[in-house]
């Protein structure tokens, strides 16, 4: 079953974003692995971003869930699986299939997804299978299906190399899809133009030829204006429109009513006329244009319509499925696409089939399923509402953290406690989304998992194991198989992932005959060896086993009449602000973290780029609100509150603030931004609008500040803090009102009954304490009243020491042995901090290349090149 485990290099796929980079992992035999980019993988051709490069730092077992747990106690697998099956059976018998739900993750493998979907929709008989992809790609799925008839990304990554114009809207690819961004920057270097449409100035907009900082939520109006401009300017491909589309006139009429001309567009979008005119003209006159879009488009109350507005322009010009042109959705998760292929969303049935009666019948026949779900299930936000209201009694969460990531995250947490049965399959032994009564099942993690994932360009790649499962962890598919068998269901006789993949491929081609885009026909007969050796391949897969790079250049849409449909979109819906919540809160990712940091939070290098949750504010707004850079702010919405470090940036649109999504209650104090996000969803996709929550912001201050560090993360006293990994443990800057006793109690909670060292200077508000066991620091805290606050650099050497004694022990709380702080990390790959780069600039390095030559910064993954470029401008010696 665990084919491919060997002390040699294993080719696998990165577990982070949807770029789907090939990774070459070489186990070191000590539980770690050397990580490199796979030069043969077409997605990345050997490149890796900072997150991918640091994968080797995230393999430690410290935070892993290693055995099944019930009510906080370790149990055997049989006990746990019996409990899950019995629990499901009880809920099914008492309340029926509608009371059972699965909440899955775009990090599951396709094989895992397939079993979950089959078990639920064919056997349990509920369609309440939704995933965190709902937060990510649902609007694109709905947008694709409405216009194209199928959830199909028409183009491929090569189009980025061939394009003359790259338009990114709602995408900070420089941070969120760094390897593709580098690829686009290479195209730009060859002469392609890059235009970034984003209300927020980002690293991506920094590197672009033009930044269109439109008003929040008005992307649809901008592309409506473009649609009108294309029509009125004679840029249409009338033959394509006539032969392969329908509903053109109605869509254009609606676009005209929203944005009749350049001036109107500029007004609606809050832009200068010239910016709009130049964008329209450039787009219109550049046939080879790829319009890339991501969460800024998807996470919106009008997300599906934003997708439609983009597709309208590409359809109207026939710029779709042709080399160097097309709309291009950038996927956020490693296998959101695989989940979509399987049908692992509540509004899909299976294998790109919906709940039409003939599809339900067809899939039921294929599965030999006794209890087919016949209607769409509950989408994520509705699912948790149904849990809160008691309609759903049993929930199985796999590989995701809804109490951090879903809107109104505090309500989600409360809802979980209502359940009769909560099952959590996880890598880590604690996420925010468990309850004391949950059944915890240890799932295999990246490096152990064996199966396939699909990236943003429809490319299926193998994730191959290169390490044995940690502890008693089992693959998700195996866990579900064993529960299905216990429930008495037939058709779950899989022995290895290849069995499942073959069935998945067989279903995709079952009675297909070209009716459905998703067709893996030739792969339905792969034997185990061929599955192991499977090279990255795009779907649909042709009879000769090769994949289709592009679709729809000559029509052939997967609608009933084969024509794509122009969509008449709704007018833009701009968030309603009030005096209580006068700001628009936008959320997103930072470069070196991913989702809720369960994996990236373990990497030292990644933790150093943006070590704390922050909120970005425009200087004018900051001045009015009394916020200072580096101070703290409390951000409130109608749904929750967060405490965040203030980052003042002229690139932030006035009236808007931005906060990253990554921190949870285990990694930060008050940084769980999901708690603020409003639950408004797109009407078609059910995807929550995470980009425009009305919010307020005000300065907040604590009595004392400093840092805490320990071998393990623990719960510090109330206040602001955020853990980041360091050699041998974790450190957090802490700002708190807690007194000495409370701080010491917190240290004891992690350091136990070790030796206690304290330094108290009440007049100075100073309190420093360390807990030592056998001379080794278990936990340490330095707190004072005023800036400059104590930093971990003061004790980093001592923290790394195996044993402190004599003078070193006596000087520990002086924090004087260490060198000065080198500043935040800029280049995560080579660990180059700000001060080193500043020194290089002072020494005459005027370009990122020169900095790279001097410090190696930016010469590996290139993720920090935009930052370096900005620094060469900002920090250049006078």
């Amino acid at each position: 079953m665990m084919h491919g485990i060997a002390p040699r290099t294993v080719k696998t796929t990165c577990p982070y974003c949807g770029v789907g980079c090939g990774v070459a992992a070489t186990p070191d035999g000590r539980g770690g692995a050397a990580i490199a980019g796979d030069v043969d993988h077409p997605a990345n051709l050997g490149r890796l971003c900072s997150k991918g490069s640091a994968l080797g730092e995230t393999l430690a077992l410290e935070t892993r869930l290693l055995h099944p747990m019930m009510k906080g106690a370790r149990v055997g697998w049989d006990v746990a699986l019996d409990a899950v099956a019995n629990g499901l059976r009880r809920v099914l018998d008492a309340h029926g299939p509608d009371a059972v739900a699965f909440y899955l993750s775009g990090q599951l493998l396709t094989e895992d997804y397939y079993i979950a979907n089959k078990l639920m929709k064919g056997f349990i008989g509920s369609a309440h299978v939704d995933t965190n992809s709902r937060l990510c790609m649902a609007s694109t799925v709905a947008g694709h299906k409405r216009a194209l008839g199928s959830d199909t990304v028409p183009g491929c990554y090569e189009d980025l190399d061939r394009a003359d114009l790259l338009v990114l809207t709602g995408s900070n690819a420089a941070w969120c899809h760094p390897v593709l961004h580098q690829r686009m920057m290479a195209a730009k270097a060859r002469g392609a133009r890059m235009i970034v449409i984003d209300p927020r100035g980002t690293e991506t907009s920094e590197g672009a030829d033009q930044h269109i900082a439109l008003r929040h939520g008005t992307d649809g109006a901008l592309f409506s204006g473009l649609f009108v401009y294309l029509a009125d300017g004679g840029f249409l491909d009338r033959d394509f429109v006539a032969a392969h589309t329908r509903d053109f006139d109605a869509a254009l009429a609606r676009a005209r009513s929203i944005a009749p001309d350049i001036d109107a567009t500029a007004r609606v979008c809050g832009l200068e006329r010239v910016a709009v005119a130049s964008f329209f003209e450039t787009w219109a006159r550049t046939p080879r244009v790829v319009t890339l879009f991501s969460q800024g488009v998807n996470q919106s109350v009008v997300g599906t319509d934003k997708v439609a507005a983009i597709l309208n322009c590409h359809l109207a010009t026939g710029r779709i499925g042709r080399e160097g042109m097309g709309p291009f959705s950038l996927t956020g998760q490693p296998n959101a696409m695989g989940g979509r292929e399987v049908g692992g969303l509540a509004n899909q049935l299976a294998a790109h089939m919906g709940f039409e009666p003939e599809n339900v019948e067809r899939v039921g026949r294929f599965w030999n399923a006794p209890n087919m779900a016949r209607t769409e299930g509950l989408k994520a936000v509705d699912m948790f509402d149904a849990i809160a209201s008691g309609r759903v009694k049993a929930l199985w969460i796999m590989g995701t953290n809804p109490a951090v990531s879903l809107p109104r995250a505090d309500d989600i947490r409360a809802a979980l406690r209502q359940l009769d049965l909560l099952v959590v399959s996880e890598n880590v032994n604690s996420t925010d989304s468990t309850t004391p009564n949950a059944i915890l099942l240890p799932a295999t993690a990246w490096g152990e998992k064996d199966g396939t994932v699909t990236n943003s360009e429809r490319r299926i790649s193998r994730q191959r194991p290169f390490m044995p499962p940690a502890g008693e962890a089992r693959p998700d598919w195996m866990i579900m198989r064993d529960v299905a068998r216990r429930l008495g269901f037939a058709g779950f006789d899989y022995n290895e992932p290849a069995d499942i993949f073959r069935e998945h491929a067989a279903l995709s081609t079952f009675e297909n005959d070209g009716q459905r885009d998703f067709d893996l026909g030739p792969l339905a007969t792969l034997d185990g060896e061929a599955y192991d050796a499977l090279a990255p391949v795009q779907w649909p897969v042709r009879a000769d086993g090769t994949g289709e790079k592009r679709l729809f250049a000559k029509g052939g849409f997967f609608t009933s009449d084969g024509r794509a449909k122009f969509i008449a979109i709704a007018p833009p819906d701009v968030a309603e602000l009030s005096s209580a919540f006068p700001f628009i809160l936008n959320t997103g990712r930072v470069r070196d973290q991913w989702h809720t940091m369960m994996r990236t939070g373990l990497s030292q290098r990644l933790g150093a780029h943006r070590p704390e949750p922050f909120v970005t504010v425009h200087p004018d707004d900051a001045a009015r609100a009394g916020l200072v850079a580096g101070g703290l702010a409390r951000v409130d919405s109608a749904h929750g509150a967060a405490t965040l470090r203030v980052d003042i940036d002229g690139g932030q649109t006035p009236g808007t603030i931005f906060a990253p999504i990554h921190w949870n209650d285990e990694t930060s104090g008050g940084g769980r931004v999901g708690a603020l996000v409003h639950p408004l969803c797109d009407p078609f996709s059910g995807q929550p609008d995470s980009k425009a929550t009305p919010a307020n912001i005000a300065p907040v201050a604590f009595a004392r500040a400093g840092f805490i560090a320990a071998r393990h993360r623990f719960a510090p006293p109330a206040g602001f803090w955020a853990w980041r990994p360091v050699d041998g443990g974790f450190v957090a800057t802490l700002e708190t009102d807690a007194d000495d006793a409370a701080i010491l109690a917190a240290l004891r909670s992690v350091g136990g009954d070790g030796d206690e060292l304290t330094l108290r200077d009440e007049a100075r508000g100073l309190f420093r304490a360390a807990l030592l066991r056998d001379g080794r620091i278990e936990a340490i805290a330095f707190l004072g009243r005023a800036r400059p606050i104590a930093t971990f650099a003061m004790v980093a050497d001592a923290f790394g020491a195996e044993r402190l004694e004599g003078a070193a022990r006596r000087a520990l709380l002086a924090g004087r042995a260490a060198v000065a702080d080198a500043g935040p990390l800029v280049c995560a790959c080579f660990g180059v901090p700000l001060n080193t780069i500043q020194a290089a600039i002072n020494a005459g390095a005027a370009t990122p290349e020169a900095i790279g030559a001097a410090t190696k910064a930016g010469t590996n993954c290139g993720s920090c090149l935009p930052e370096l470029r900005r620094m060469t401008r900002a920090l250049a010696p006078a």
Binding site: D755, E756, L757, T758, L759, R760, D761, E762, A763, R764, L766, L772, R809, R810, A811, L813, A814, R816
Partner: protein, 402 residues
């Protein structure tokens, strides 16, 4: 011709005075030192080290005979002074010998206090004051058995430790709820207690002595709460009292000690006093450092420097129990002042600094006393410590490296 300067007492204060005089005004005075004990002056501070077997008795002699001879000092040892004739400006020894003086210095030291409780004079009850006491304690220790030391101050702790080192099973009883309460705060005293106990001494706090038991020899100690601690040796180390006997008999002004002014002169301007017998600025010091400071002032006065004045000393205590560094100086309580505390009890370390108006005014050091002198100087010299405030408690090397 040299003026005759008679020094009554040959202890550490007297020796230091001679030393100071010999550097400032060698030959100005004809110095006569009169000592009751027949042996040369020795370093009393090291008696506990002798008891603990760490120092040989022969090695605690302050100055060899040649040193005194070289300075032309006449030493009259083995005979106490019986009286002073202030009018005739002479002293009379018990032997009847009269010695005339131009200036007279009283350096008569102190008496150990014996508790006014029954049995205190029984054989087997000792004080801990001089080499004879030390010899007797060592002799008792050689017989083995049990010892009780009364008094949890500096001297009592050193006696208890020394006896334990010498092989006795030792109980230390102390009236107060913590050891060295006049030098240590509760935390420091607790650490000290643990350290003493780790060296094999049983410590009883809040223990009020009722009497020494035994008819002909001491057999133990009975406490007021009824407990009896059996013992073959009882050492009473509850404190000292200034020896102002001669001064009193001579009609000099005395209080708890011989009252002296800033120039160390008594109520008779030709008679001076210093050390443990003197009361300067209302304070009788029981420590060697103030005596040395007084010796310095007095030597300058006797050398003709009328500006030399003694302004009082910062009381500082150093406990000499091997492996248990204890230092206390100045206002170690710090009521209403700023305090800085560094605590590593597991490593036997505790430091407390008291700061007032950017000046160090008090300190306690337990476990690591290497910087004691430096702190003492900072207190004595009233140094502004603002610049090194945050590192001060970590000692001189770290603070000065700032």
């Amino acid at each position: 011709m040299s003026e005759p300067l008679v020094i009554v007492g040959k202890g550490m204060a007297a020796t230091r005075l001679v030393d100071e005089l010999s550097t400032r005004a060698l030959g100005r005075h004809a110095i006569i030192v009169i000592g009751a004990e027949p042996r040369p002056a020795y370093n009393r501070v090291l008696l506990s080290s002798v008891l603990a077997g760490e120092v040989d008795p022969a090695d605690i002699e302050l100055k060899p005979a040649a040193w005194w001879r070289a300075r032309g000092v006449t030493t009259l040892y083995g005979g106490a002074v019986a009286s002073i004739d202030r009018a005739a400006k002479s002293v009379t020894l018990e032997s009847g010998l009269r010695v005339a003086y131009s200036k007279l210095v009283l350096a008569t030291g102190s008496h150990p206090i014996r508790l006014p409780t029954p049995g205190m004079t029984l054989p087997g009850v000792l004080t801990f004051r001089d080499l004879r006491d030390t010899d007797a304690m060592l002799a008792a220790a050689r017989r083995g058995g049990r010892a009780v030391v009364i008094g949890g101050g500096l001297l009592g702790i050193e006696a208890a430790h020394g006896l334990a080192r010498a092989g006795m099973r030792v109980t230390l009883v102390h009236l107060m709820d913590r050891l060295m309460e006049r030098q240590l705060d509760a935390r420091a005293a607790d650490l000290l207690k643990r350290a003493i106990e780790a060296k094999g001494v049983t410590v009883l706090l809040g223990a009020d002595t009722a009497r020494v038991t035994g008819d002909t020899v001491a057999t133990g100690l009975e406490l007021k709460d009824g407990r009896v601690v059996p013992a073959d040796l009882v050492v009473c180390a509850v404190g000292i009292r200034a020896n102002a006997d001669l001064a009193r008999a001579s009609g000099l002004a005395i209080n708890r000690g011989v009252i002296v002014d800033a120039g160390m002169a008594t109520s008779d301007q030709d008679i001076f006093a210093l050390g443990e017998c003197a009361e300067a600025g209302g304070v009788v010091y029981g420590l060697v450092e103030p005596a040395y400071e007084q010796a310095r002032v007095l030597a300058r006065r006797l050398a003709g420097d009328t500006r030399a004045a003694y302004a009082g000393s910062t009381p500082a205590t150093n406990l000499k129990v091997s492996g248990v560094g204890v230092f206390s100086a100045g206002d170690f309580v710090g009521e209403g002042k700023e305090t800085v505390q560094l605590d590593d009890a597991a490593d036997g370390l505790y430091k407390k600094l008291v700061i007032d108006n950017a000046r160090l005014v008090g300190a306690i050091l337990i476990g690591d006393t290497r910087d004691a002198l430096w702190y003492q100087e900072l207190i004595r010299d009233n140094i502004d410590i603002s610049a090194m405030r945050d590192d001060l408690i970590f000692g001189r090397a770290l603070a000065m490296a700032a």
